[in-house]
């Protein structure tokens, strides 16, 4: 069985490494790849790293990309332009931590790319303290 892959994009590699650990504890079978920091390991993002992470996380069922702050979205979009139609990739408009958690749980249930995207984006409306 293959799963929708998850790519975590952040200015900080430490931030997404920690998040990746949390996610693999919940659903170790779901491919989660990270693209944190620049090519030189500085704070920032890299479209080259994001493209590689997407290719790594795609086991045939598509990939959801989650990102931290505005400029990582621009580099994620450039990576998508480079990949063209060859890979089924969606960028989620969602908070990084909660969105990634919701996505990995949904993906682990064997859901489709669109379903995983929908669930990841729905967490925007959740109240954390009720």
């Amino acid at each position: 069985m293959s799963y929708v892959g998850i790519v975590l994009v952040s200015h900080s590699v430490d931030l997404v490494r920690g998040l990746q650990e949390i996610l693999s504890q919940v659903q170790p079978q779901v491919p989660v790849a990270i693209a944190g920091g620049t090519d030189d390991g500085e704070l920032g993002t890299s479209p080259f790293k994001i493209k590689e992470a997407i290719e790594f996380a795609n086991s045939g069922k598509g990939v959801i990309v989650l990102f931290d702050l505005g400029s990582s979205l621009m580099n994620a979009e450039i990576a998508l332009d480079w990949l063209g139609e060859n890979e089924r990739v969606k960028i989620a408009d969602a908070p990084l931590v909660e969105g990634a958690y919701a996505a990995v749980v949904e993906s682990g249930c064997g859901s489709s790319l669109d379903q995983v995207l929908h669930v990841a984006q729905k967490v925007k409306t959740w109240q954390k303290i009720s």
């Binding site: 620049t38 479209p47 505005g70 400029s71 621009m74 580099n75 450039i78």
Partner: protein, 210 residues
């Protein structure tokens, strides 16, 4: 009055020198309304771009722009990487296969670059971003056409940069500051001015004012 491969390389090397000299200034501007890395990021990106061009035998303006874009995309990291990178990628598209460009062809490349920056950054004129320099500069070049004076263009670009000071930021990290972002120059507008200043000086040096 045309831009060729040699002048293009000189332009980027000059822009690199200007950015290296002003690295701390650019970071200081970004520290006021952003995350303080603009100078370091641009210095890293342009150093790489200048170095790649120096070792290149290419005379094709499209290929040269492409090399600058790739250097910026891989080295910059912050928002200016994808934005300046996209600008040069769009210019590469217009200049593909050309070993020189007239002022008219420069205006076509700038127009595409502006469209690319606005599409990538989802910014409009007046949002206190690099668009506030690029868009008016692009229009100025298109309107003046063969009557373009590089010296006038340089003055004009600087005026556009200065106009970002009172604006309130609508995009990027500075937008988190809301009204507190006004009263500061936009760092991307300043580095964009340096880029155009370097272009004007390179063109002026090689062919007189007109």
């Amino acid at each position: 009055m045309t831009l060729d491969g040699t002048k293009f390389v000189n332009w980027i090397r000059r822009a690199n020198r200007r950015i290296q000299e002003n690295k701390d200034y650019l970071s200081e501007l970004d520290r006021a309304i952003g995350d303080g890395d603009h100078g370091i990021n641009m210095a890293r990106g342009f150093a790489e771009a200048a170095q790649r061009l120096t070792g290149s035998a290419d005379q094709d303006l499209g290929a040269l722009c492409q090399q600058v874009a790739m250097a910026l995309l891989s080295k910059v990291g912050g928002a200016s990487g994808p934005l300046f990178g996209t600008a040069f990628l769009k210019m590469a598209g217009v200049w593909k296969g050309k070993d020189h460009a007239s002022v008219h062809e420069l205006s076509l490349a700038l127009r595409e670059a502006v469209n690319g920056i606005k599409m990538r950054g989802k910014a409009e004129l007046g949002d206190k971003t690099m668009v506030d320099v690029w868009e008016p500069v692009s229009r100025f070049v298109a309107e003046k056409a063969e009557h373009l004076s590089w010296r006038e263009l340089c003055v004009f670009a600087e005026e556009q940069m200065d106009k970002t000071k009172p604006l309130q930021a609508k995009k990027g990290r500075a937008a988190y500051l809301g009204p507190r972002s006004s009263g500061h120059l936009d760092p991307g507008a300043v580095s964009s001015f340096f880029l155009f200043e370097a272009l004007c000086e390179t063109m002026e040096e090689s062919g007189g004012d007109r």
